[in-house]
């Protein structure tokens, strides 16, 4: 275990991303990215296709090793972990970061319940004394196994899959598989849950159920959520904080209301016409330099917003 005593991360932060850079050969996927994830909140990362959202996730969860930068995770008990230095399974085991995948990765041939039990592997393995006590059938392991099944049962109740607990996970409909994957990640007792497009492929009703599930995770557990999402009905509805990426850099950062009205975000999503290009670039320069007084920027922002809105309804 590597618990670091580094420069202090402010108290309510769970994850601090500093100067993150990820390069694949000559392609810079992420360049000097900085953001914070607050404890107990739902933070969303949005951005157009190819903006580098999933790359950020893969860096945080250890599937990629960042080219540069620092990822500091602070656990509730005060331990600090430098995620870029941990192997990916250690990130879940020690730093308590769990993730789901854009294309669902369930164990299709295992039952729904078994999927949730595999997620509790580390705890059960300890209880089974590296399998030796378990092989002998000692009561300590039996108790732990019973607890694990109860825990899984509680999550199944929450995602309304108790009836299908003993069916293979591959036989579930798509929406149920999405929720099962989230429940499976939650069974590792994470402090930070990273969801990669949890609403992709869901119909509006399933999306709504997902919103409820995520909100209940926020209110009932100590888990903070970081999610990537394209579905704005999910993002705007449930996020407390939104980070917008474009071409590997952060272009905006704030509450859903701020983001909704940010011209740079709108420009990134809708594009701008040639004659407005200068105006937007100027704005972007100012934002980068952080030099412009707040009031002026807001005025100009409003102006751009209006002009874009005009164009969007011809």
């Amino acid at each position: 275990m590597t618990a670091y005593k580094q420069k202090p991360v402010s108290k309510d932060m769970i994850l601090k991303v500093e100067h993150l850079r990820m390069q694949f050969g000559g392609l810079v996927a992420i360049d000097d990215l900085n953001f914070d994830v607050e404890r107990g909140k739902i933070t969303a990362i949005i951005g157009p296709n190819g903006a580098g959202k999933t790359t950020v996730f893969n860096c945080i969860t250890g599937f990629y090793r960042p080219t540069g930068g620092m990822l500091t995770l602070k656990r509730a008990n005060g331990e600090m972990h430098r995620l870029e230095r941990l192997a990916n399974f250690q990130i879940t085991k020690k730093a308590k970061v769990a993730r789901t995948f854009q294309n669902i990765r369930l164990f299709n041939g295992l039952t729904v319940l078994e999927n949730l039990l595999v997620a509790q592997h580390n705890r059960l393995m300890r209880a089974s004394g590296m399998s030796i006590f378990g092989l002998l059938g000692l009561p300590g392991y039996k108790h732990a196994a019973k607890n694990a099944i109860e825990n899984a049962g509680a999550w199944l109740e929450k995602i309304k899959l108790v009836d299908r607990a003993d069916d293979p996970a591959g036989s579930l409909p798509y929406g149920d598989q999405r929720r099962l994957e989230i429940a499976r990640a939650m069974c590792t007792d994470p402090e930070l849950l990273c969801l990669d497009e949890p609403a992709a492929g869901l119909n509006p009703r399933e999306s709504l159920a997902l919103n409820e599930l995520l909100l209940s995770i926020r209110s009932e557990t100590d888990t903070s959520i970081l999610l990537i999402e394209h579905d704005m009905s999910v993002v705007m509805e449930i996020s407390d904080h939104i980070i917008v990426l474009e071409y590997g850099s952060k272009i905006s950062d704030g509450t859903p209301d701020n983001i909704r009205n940010d011209p740079r975000v709108i420009a990134a999503y809708l594009g701008v016409e040639d004659e407005e290009m200068d105006e937007v670039e100027e704005l972007l320069d100012e934002a980068k330099g952080d030099a412009a007084p707040a009031g002026e920027t807001t005025d100009k922002l409003d102006g751009t917003t209006v002009s874009i809105e005009k164009r969007s309804r011809p």
Partner: protein, 522 residues
């Protein structure tokens, strides 16, 4: 011309017939091209080392006709498995008819043709073959028969699951008693039943159960499994010869050594997947075999090493006053040792089945299966996939080591010829045929494959009538064996027992159908 075309188009039966006929003729032509020099005009060296051509146009004509008729039947009956089964009929009829004719001619020339007896034998063999095919056809294509069989199986399944383990153990325990009492006249004859059949099959069951952990559960394709078998056998031999360790002391040590070797081979190849893993493990198996073959000072080279027999609580199985037979006041019999070995391996297997069933319900076993399903997902759940894979390798290798130690004690020696690549292939075939991950399926597959291969040695030589006087049925056993495997894989692509039993359940235990699970790719 016009009317012919119309006929051709409007009469589908006729169109099908002419189409099938065309296909048949084409096939016959290709068969002719293929066989004309090999069968029709084969060249041989005679005793003076001269090349000689012996024309066999009769055989050639027969083969060409069989190929054409088979293709015609296959096409005309609509193809598929059903067509393939049907296509055997004309082939068999033509084949037997031609052989019978040849036999008749040669016998008539020699003047020793006894019509009634030999024709009767021929007819019986032909009828049996036809009946076998008809049964296969009925089974495949009568949905009523299939559903009736499936219904019966479903009806007895719950009872079977409940009582099967106890019944099987009881059967295994009384098997030698049954053989000695009812099947053979004296104990010496029991060798065939207990050693050739039972012990050999059970050794393969043990190997296949061990490999099943690596291939079936963890999904790591291991083609060098026989190396661990060899490590077990040579451990017993070397420790026994140099340090005088008894078999019982060597048995656990052999398991531990093999497990260490499992970790040693497992560690460098862990980052490999699928085909690459298979090739590296294959190479590892060959390395071990080559070392055993060539490191003569240590392994005895081609002569192998002597292995001491196992003892019954220190009492050796030998002639004389100190032997097992004398101790219990019996007459010395070589079969005593075989029966003793039989009980050893049955005990080991019961223990092994218990351990594997337990392991599957423990987190470690569940993770092996999760690894097979999706390794990346495993890592995202905080599971150390390296140790999980290594533990699968080590556990599988350990059982291979036990099997090797037992094998050495049974043979009385350890030599490299028992640890060739073919053994790995047979064990892997048993695992695949049985259904990856299923203990019962694998046991069935081992009985069918190893028992079947032994049984095929005993094909009645009356078949020589059909296949000619120089036909030796035992030479064809691998061919039959291959054919049987192809058939099983067509009918049951995921092995005899394709479904998996979940390791835990919340409401009701239900088997997971085979098509949900994946084979794993390393």
């Amino acid at each position: 011309m016009n009317t012919r075309m119309e006929n051709f188009c409007t009469n589908p039966a006729k169109a099908r017939f002419s189409g099938a006929l065309f296909q048949g003729i084409c096939t016959a032509f290709i068969a002719f091209l293929l066989f004309v020099f090999i069968v029709g005009l084969p060249a041989d060296l005679n005793i003076h080392n001269e090349l000689q051509i012996t024309p066999q146009f009769g055989y050639l004509f027969n083969y060409v006709l069989i190929a054409g008729a088979g293709r015609f039947t296959w096409c005309y009956s609509g193809g598929g498995i059903r067509g393939a089964v049907l296509a055997f009929f004309p082939g068999i009829i033509l084949f037997i008819a031609y052989r019978a004719w040849l036999y008749y001619i040669s016998a008539a020339v020699a003047g020793n043709y006894v019509f009634s007896i030999q024709f009767g034998q021929l007819a019986i063999t032909a009828i049996m073959l036809a009946a076998l095919l008809a049964a296969a056809w009925l089974f495949l294509y009568s949905s009523r028969i299939r559903s009736a069989i499936a219904g019966n199986i479903a009806a007895i399944t719950p009872a079977m699951q409940r009582y099967a383990p106890g019944m099987i153990i009881a059967l295994l325990l009384i098997y030698p008693v049954f053989i000695v009492t009812f099947v053979v006249d004296n104990m010496a004859q029991s060798q065939k039943w207990i050693d050739n059949y039972a012990i050999q099959i059970l050794i393969y069951v043990m190997l296949a159960w061990g490999l099943n952990i690596v291939v079936g559960l963890a999904g790591l394709l291991d083609l060098g499994y026989v190396a661990f078998y060899a490590v077990g056998a040579y451990t017993v031999a070397l420790l026994g010869n140099h340090f005088g360790f008894s078999f019982w002391l060597c048995l656990p040590i052999a398991g531990i050594f093999a497990a260490l070797w499992g970790v040693m081979i497992g560690f460098p190849v862990l980052r490999l997947r699928g085909d690459y893993l298979a090739i590296v493990t294959l190479a590892f198996g060959e390395i071990v075999r080559t070392i055993l073959q060539n490191w003569t000072p240590v392994t005895g080279g081609a002569n192998g090493l002597f292995v001491k027999k196992a003892t019954f609580f220190g009492i050796p199985f030998e002639r004389g006053p100190n032997g097992f037979a004398a101790f219990f006041g019996m007459k010395f019999q070589a079969a005593h040792y075989k029966i003793f070995l039989y009980y050893i391996i049955v005990t080991l297997l019961i223990l092994m089945a218990w351990i594997i069933t337990r392991l599957r319900r423990l987190p470690i076993g569940r993770v092996w299966e999760a690894l097979r399903e999706d390794e990346i997902a495993c890592r995202s759940l905080g599971i150390n996939t390296v140790t999980a894979k290594l533990s699968a390798f080590a556990t599988g290798a350990m059982f291979g080591g036990f099997a090797g130690a037992f094998f050495a004690a049974r043979q009385g020696r350890a030599d490299y010829t028992s640890f060739v690549f073919m053994e790995s292939v047979i064990v892997l075939a048993i695992v695949v045929l049985g259904g990856m991950g299923s203990l019962s399926g694998i046991a069935i597959a081992a009985i069918v494959m190893i028992g079947g291969m032994e049984l095929l040695r005993e094909i009645p030589s009356s078949l020589q009538m059909i296949f000619g006087p120089d036909f030796r049925p035992e030479q064809y056993r691998m061919l039959w064996f291959g054919l049987a495997m192809v058939c099983v894989m067509i009918l049951k692509p995921r092995g005899f027992v394709s479904s998996r039993t979940p390791s835990a359940f919340l409401n009701r235990k239900k088997a997971v159908p085979g098509h949900f699970t994946v084979e794993g790719n390393g």
